[in-house]
Amino acid sequence: MTTVTPDGSPTGKVEILEEAVIRFAGDSGDGMQLTGNQFSDSAALFGNDLATFPDFPAEIRAPIGTLAGVSAFQVRISSNDIHTPGHLLDVLVAMNPAALKVHLPDLKHGGILLVNTGNFGKRDWEKAGYTSNPLEDETIVEPYHLVQVDLNHLTKETLKDTNLDNKAIMRCKNFAALGILLWMFNRDLEPTIRAIKERFGKKAPEIADANVAVLVAGRNYAETVELLDHTFQVDQAELEPGIYRNIMGNQATGLGLLAASKLTGVQLFLGSYPITPASDILHQLSSYKQDGVITFQAEDEIAAICSTVGAAYAGMLAVTTTSGPGVALKTEALGLGVMAELPFVVVNVQRGGPSTGLPTKTEQADLYQAIWGRNGECPLPVLAAASPVDCFYMAIEAFRIATKYMTPVLLLTDGYLANGSEPWKLPKIEDLPKFEVHFETNPEGFQPYKRDPETLARPWVRPGTKGMQHRIGGLEKEDGSGNVSYDSENHFHMVKTRQAKVMGIAKDIPAPELHGDSEGDLLVLGWGSTYGSIYGAVDKARKEGFKVSQLHLRHVFPLPEGVDKILAGFKRILVPEMNMGQLTNYMKTQISADYISYPKVTGKPFYNDEVLRKIREVLA
């Protein structure tokens, strides 16, 4: 299979690859996130399927050149349908020795290692903890295809006639690397040049020009010196026709929340307190002022959720966003939300725990907390997004359930989804889930806890509605009237009713789709962000002839109806999760089956290969 690259440029041999995994790694100040994003955009525009994932250093900027300061961005581009940013690398760009040290272990043997020799002086490699220049140490670089370029020099030379100072010049060097990569994959420079101009053009045209110059210089250099004896080509993927956009999970969540507001015509309120990795949702919604979104940066997580409770009471689509430690602080008020039967959404972008834990790493270990983390009998629905794009749809779903059933809803995402991206085939507006919100305005026979016989939801009344004044609160209340009640039987009744209301949602949510046959030796059951990792693994395992299928939960509590029947079709259930077995234990309380827990708690997502190996092992 051969294709002509868009600009028809390739001079030498072109190797066609199904896919490639590329990681850009350098110092925090080296602009790796930008470089990675630009490369991804060009791949997306070209028509690849792709998935990206950034790997930030711990929160504070570490000293330049140190291991702690390394920042990386990974992208997998493919001519197939893919679901994860991949694991082992085909290409690693290492802008300095620290980046080399941290990321080399992930490079495939035989993979291309592009290094910026301009940053490999003695002081540089000493800072990274090497005792000699790693590029000269065969035991280190021998397994790889080492490509050395002095990007610093190349950049300086290119820009020597500009008016930029040295600092500004050196900031352009990532574009030299990008130019080389674009050459390597036979990509047209045009879209990138356009993007650079859009980004810097207005405010700093001289910077835009410099970056473009360096980009071109990098490409030309690679071509001229024939940096590799052949280049690569990853063909377009057969994506469904449509308009696409690359989107990160947090971005999708923010957009989904706003979409729910636009769909219902009810104003959006966010009460939040910054916390990694959830803060970006706050940032995004804060920029939605023109759409009438009210964002309140509260003094702490307790005030954040309490203001959200107040906003829900006042008749807004109300949401609070946070991560695990923040949810811990919100649990008391979540209980109030359950008792007062108010509709709002809590988004938990999970991170490594317990306690402060590993704030910049991903984990799925807040499931127990989500389902069971409150005092008293305090059930509430728990949803989990399966991919960056799914965050959009689950945010809408969370509001649909909250307002229909008058209940707080917990939506779980995680650091991996939050910062990872994938192409999103944009939906037609008319295809988006429809749901209406009803505010009770008829005082005739009104009671604050009179329930809809089907959903068991109580009415939602906006304060200000004439003749419907009433009082609610956290004390147990009489069903119907909502008056405070210390009656024993009423309490039991209310406990059961609140439970029945939430469990009743099981009928109103889609049964999860089975990927594979409905009977077999093994079902791989997952929830949340492991979707892509499991999908790829099950796919391969099926190709290898294993009788394995995948079931993925996006509605975790309650389970959708019919999950028990699906499970019954399989001999054993393998449950990979980024925790010590939380879904496994939860499933045991719901459906008895032969579960095999497969935990991984390293702050990193599962790789397809890991899951595949585990499937083989279990079925061996």
Partner: protein, 348 residues
Amino acid sequence: MTATQDSPKGKLKKTFFKSDQEVRWCPGCGDYGILNAVQSTFAELGLERENIVIVSGIGCSSRFPYYMETYGFHSIHGRAPAVATGVKLSRPELEVWVITGDGDALSIGGNHLIHTLRRNVGLKIILFNNRIYGLTKGQFSPTSEIGKVTKSSPYGSVDMPFNPLSLALGVGATFVARTIDVMGKHMREVLKAAHEHEGTAFIEVFQDCNIFNHGAFDPIVKKEVRDDRLVDLRPNQPLVFGQDHDKGLIWDCNQLRVVKLGEADETGKVWKEEDLVVFDPSNPNPSLAFALSHLREVDEPTPIGVLRSIKQASYEKMVHGQIQGIQDKKGERSLEDLIYAGKTWEVK
């Protein structure tokens, strides 16, 4: 619940604001007087019941919303200002009142209180200060005096109390006042001033807990001593007090000092009204208000009335003003605009 009833404006009775719930405070509790005053004030102001939201925390005082025929939310301990902030930001057109106790507002809820005050959210906060935890049956609170013997301090408390007014002034409150459960008329005036204020109005009410801290305020509020122990602040008036209007406050050596009017002091100086400090609650600089709040309860008069009332845009006005401004400039976007934004590409 009560059926719809039109608010007969201008000639409301306080019963108009009475809910059908039986009031359940202990006999003799100071809370009754406050409930009374609030109902009367709302009636006098001719407010619409459906436009009022009363949010409370947990405590004896926080049962208040049940007794009011308005919208009410009995939330959780200490969090009423945060819940109410959500309500007010969402619906600036509603009257939002917060009812809280000295434990609720100043102990567990201290953080929300100070942030609400600095932001100037348009809430009217009534703090029922009985200097004790009533609902949990008598532990010392952050306003209990040192040495107080309670269930949790059987040998006397060793915790220095807060001065609620100084605290409020220190964090930037724009309206700060104090009144007393047994002084109905005074209270109603203060409540009305609070109602009129833009932004947070903070009102401390000295409230007698008949069961666990009876008589805590007697030394200053009993009818016999009241006039000599309280100084009722009147805007732009010299600071005079005393049964016979014979005492006043001057500024001396960087603080306020009490002088007797018309008599010579040890230095031979005879003090007259025009020597006294003239007090203006609308002064943006809170220095004098702070000095007043710090008068020592033991031997100096305790200020009541409005200590501070300045003009400053409310938080909700700022928030909505900003939104409005941006909307006016940029216009709302359709969902389509929002989704089909950023770098998109087409696959055919």
